[in-house]
């Protein structure tokens, strides 16, 4: 960070129809939103100057997020509340800024710091029994390992490491809801659909649509777990 710049952290949601956006599409939309909001953003030096902006861990296409983050560097101080109001007026409705605040220059990047993701998954299948599903999921978790095939590659996840706490299965009027806490890391993180999918296939119910929402993105260290903002 250049001297005289201010590092603003913004928490936002990616919901509704906009959960179908890719991470790159979200980045572009936020860049454009920040320009429309007329934030005093800093620009990188060099041949191809662009807005100084850094994002937290990517959300895949079709996954919604309630607690996503980006950092933007400003060339002058503007009250956090004003940045939030300006952004709120300049973003498409389902890409909503929730809060903003200044953070220290010395903090590690969001993508390096955020290491826990909390997911809520709704299984869109009316005839699914909560109890049977909970047992199947438990069996998968107990097996200790999950092998995932993606884009022709095979990856084996150590579930004791990948899951930061026990999954919770509940039921509401829309159907079965699963809550998962997944550890994120450089080596690639477990996609929560893979775990739920494995449970479903144990009960021969694969193919059910799963609506995934990342409800929180957290930083865990020696002192415990906290939100980035």
């Amino acid at each position: 960070m250049a001297p005289g710049e201010f590092r603003l952290r913004v928490r936002y949601g990616k919901i509704g129809r906009l959960r179908h956006l890719s991470h790159l599409e979200v980045i572009h939309a936020i860049e454009r939103g920040a320009r429309r909001a007329d934030l005093p953003y800093a620009v990188t030096r060099g041949f191809n100057p662009h807005m100084k902006l850094a994002f937290g861990p990517a959300l895949p296409v079709a996954t919604a997020g309630l607690s996503e983050y980006f950092d933007i560097w400003l060339t002058r101080y503007m009250p956090a509340e004003e940045t939030l109001n300006r952004l709120a007026g300049a973003m498409p409705p389902d890409l909503t800024p929730v809060s903003s605040g200044y953070v220290g220059d010395d903090l590690p990047s969001l993508s390096a710091a955020c290491n826990i993701a909390l997911y809520e998954m709704r299984i869109e299948r009316e005839d699914l029994d909560r109890g049977t599903f909970a047992k199947a999921l438990d069996a998968v978790v107990r097996s200790g390992e999950l092998t995932v095939q993606r884009k022709g590659k095979t990856k084996v996840f150590d579930l004791a490491r990948s899951l930061s706490k026990e999954p919770r299965v509940s039921v509401d009027q829309t159907g079965v809801v699963v809550e998962l806490a997944v550890r994120m890391g450089q080596e690639g993180s477990l996609r929560p659909e893979a775990l739920v999918g494995a449970a479903l296939s144990r009960m021969d119910a694969e193919g059910a649509a799963i609506a995934v929402t990342r409800i929180d993105t957290l930083i865990e260290d020696e002192k415990g777990c906290a939100r980035p903002l």
């Binding site: 906009l18 860049e31 454009r32 320009r35 620009v43 649509a209």
Partner: protein, 623 residues
């Protein structure tokens, strides 16, 4: 915004590529569920191609400004989505309110290039609208076309209720107003179409039938009441219209992902192969003040980091230098860049590009079009070899390391000598680039050479002459390859099969409609996409209805012989076109009337269009 149709669309999104094509919700989109009149504006290709279209952005803006009218965007779903929609019985829908297109009052379809014709049928079918105008009932939307291909509308005429020839700023509003009034009066579809045919520039195909006598300029004759010749619409003063400064800002990467300000319309350089140059006359510039104001407003409203000053020949704008200086000053330090679409081959263009680029020196593009001076004179492309070499030198001296050159093969009077001339010219360009580049950087020099096959277009001096045969194209491409230097040169040329189909569609008449329908039924769609294009399918389809594609593409017309587009006028007189053709074959060039005297093309005077050249200042010297 949520409608029951959306609930059926959403589950399909996880099964298709690029769902962002279908989700709407973009910044700048107008959503009005209460409007009493709904117009669906379709670009007959994918979202990412269609979002670049400025004409739709203009009409979207203007129609949405009308009380009670909602204009909504529609793009053709990619094949994966179309398949899902068909299996799930989801009809073609508008993005903004997710309305079924068939439930709209009007379906406006852009006609951007010939290779979208099968897509038009695909869209109508997905919408559940009868393909042929003759089969539609009062319950179906009015299907209206418009755009560059309206200047030879016949191949697709039977699929349209009406086609607008020329500029739509005012005409689109008049069409909607006439349609609303006709409905209020309880007019039948037939009576409504008669009303529409009274609007200048509107062509109602059903009111024209084959000219059995074979006399006159046109292959079709008008029924009583319809104009014998439909003359294009044109706005007299572009400056009187606002640029859409808050267009829809897409989420996904689209072609030309930037805000555009159209700095001028029309080009009178007079290149004899160029349909745009002939049909969009006269030249009308916006003033520097308006351009700068709208450019800044566009950036503010969209949040784009790139601004494009668009037109057929932006560097001809009489105040471009002033515009560029003001914009670069205002945008300094914002990371926002300005781009110029096409550059003239001259030092001024390079100096403008230098202002634009700042540090970015990705590549410059020039279009000498032909390889020898003789042929450049024939086509009236007033660029000399020395102009090109000087321009390239100055670009490479300024730090550029890449240029791209556009050429054509198959131009009238072309010989192998002219094609070999392309190779020779490219070698000289490469040498000029080397000499202007410090030795240690010479390894990075690239010269891109893109060679298309000439398609003779309606309403141009070369429109009377047939396209060269398919086999001749292949032979000339071989001559081209043999004459092209290899080192540092990236040669690309258009697929001869695609050019043949373009020639067929550009030159044929109404008889082609059966062939287009047969091809679509045989599976043709997205013909502009290499992986989807299949000439065999088209040939089979055309032959199945008794048409020979080669004969259509290569057909020439004698003076006085009716052409399929004789009932459509661009305002440029047919006599002028023949005169220009004669001058071409005599190797005589014609001046640009925006720099020199009137060349008598007829648009400003005889056409009755009431237009004249509008310049913001004095154009920079005569050529």
């Amino acid at each position: 915004m949520t409608s029951s149709l959306w609930e059926r669309i959403e589950p399909l999104l996880s099964r298709v590529e690029r769902p962002a094509r279908y989700i709407d919700s973009e910044w700048g989109a107008h959503r009005d569920s209460d409007a009493s009149y709904r117009a669906a504006l379709l670009y007959p290709d994918t979202y990412e191609v269609g979002m670049a279209n400025q004409a739709i952005a203009i009409l979207y803006d203007r129609l949405n400004a009308v009380d009670g009218v909602a204009a909504e965007r529609v793009y053709l779903p990619w094949v994966d989505m179309a398949e899902q929609m068909r299996t799930q019985s989801v009809p073609l829908f508008t993005l903004e309110t997710c309305a079924a297109v068939a439930s709209c009052d009007l379906l406006g379809i852009t006609l951007p290039y010939e290779l979208t014709y099968s897509n038009i049928l695909e869209a109508l079918d997905l919408a559940g609208i009868p393909l042929r105008a003759a089969d539609r009932s009062d319950a179906d939307p009015l299907v209206v076309g418009g755009g560059p291909c309206a200047f030879n509308p016949e191949p697709i005429a039977p699929f349209f209720d009406a086609i607008l020839v020329g500029e739509g700023e005012d005409a689109a509003l008049e069409i909607v107003a006439a349609h609303r009034a006709a409905r209020e009066q309880g007019y039948s579809r037939e009576a409504t179409l008669k009303e529409l045919s009274r609007i200048p520039g509107v062509y109602v195909p059903a009111l024209y039938s084959p000219n059995e006598s074979g006399q006159g300029a046109s292959a079709l004759v008008a029924q009583a009441g319809a104009p014998e010749v439909v003359t294009k619409r044109v706005v007299a003063d572009l400056g009187a219209y606002d640029t859409p400064t808050c267009p829809v800002v897409p989420f996904m990467d689209v072609v030309h992902d930037r805000v555009g300000v159209e700095v001028l319309r029309g080009c009178t350089r007079g290149c004899r192969f160029c349909q745009a140059g002939m049909v969009y006359r006269p030249v009308r510039e916006r003033s520097a003040d308006q351009i700068v104001r709208e450019a800044l407003a566009g950036i503010r409203c969209t949040g784009y980091d790139e601004l494009s000053l668009t037109s057929l020949s932006t560097t001809d704008h009489s105040q471009l230098e002033e515009v560029m200086r003001r914009l670069t000053r205002r945008l300094e330090g914002t990371g926002i860049s300005v781009s110029l679409p096409s550059l003239r081959v001259d030092a001024f263009s390079v100096s403008m590009a230098r202002l634009v680029g700042g540090g970015r020196k990705s590549g410059l593009t020039f279009a000498p079009e032909a390889g020898t001076q003789r042929l450049r004179d024939v086509i009236n492309k007033n660029v000399t070899e020395q102009d090109l070499l000087d321009t390239v030198s100055s670009a490479f001296t300024s730090g550029w390391r890449r240029v791209k050159l556009y050429f054509m093969i198959g131009l009238p009077t072309e010989t192998d000598e002219d094609i070999e001339g392309i190779g020779r010219l490219v070698s000289k360009v490469f040498r000029a680039a080397r000499e202007a580049t410090p030795p240690q950087q010479r390894g990075g020099i690239r010269v891109g050479v893109s060679v298309s096959t000439f398609v003779p277009k309606a309403h141009t001096p070369f429109g009377f002459d047939g396209q060269i045969s398919y086999h001749e194209v292949l032979r000339r491409q071989q001559v081209l390859r043999d004459s092209m230097p290899k080192k540092g040169i990236d040669l690309a040329y258009h697929d001869a099969q695609v050019s043949l189909l373009e020639g067929v569609m550009a030159r044929g008449g109404r008889e082609l409609a059966d062939g287009i329908e047969a091809a679509w039924r045989g599976g043709a769609r997205f013909d502009a996409w290499t992986e989807q294009f299949d000439l065999g399918l088209w040939t089979t389809a055309l032959e199945s209805v008794g048409l020979d594609p080669h004969a259509i593409a290569t057909r020439s017309f004698d003076r006085g012989e009716p052409t399929p587009w004789g009932h459509i006028s661009s305002g440029v007189g047919e006599g002028y076109l023949w005169h220009e053709r004669e001058r071409a074959f005599a190797g005589e060039t014609t001046e640009d009337c925006s720099f020199d005297d009137c060349t008598g093309c007829g648009v400003c005077g005889d056409s009755g269009l009431g237009v004249d050249i509008v310049l913001g200042g004095e154009r920079r010297g005569s050529r």
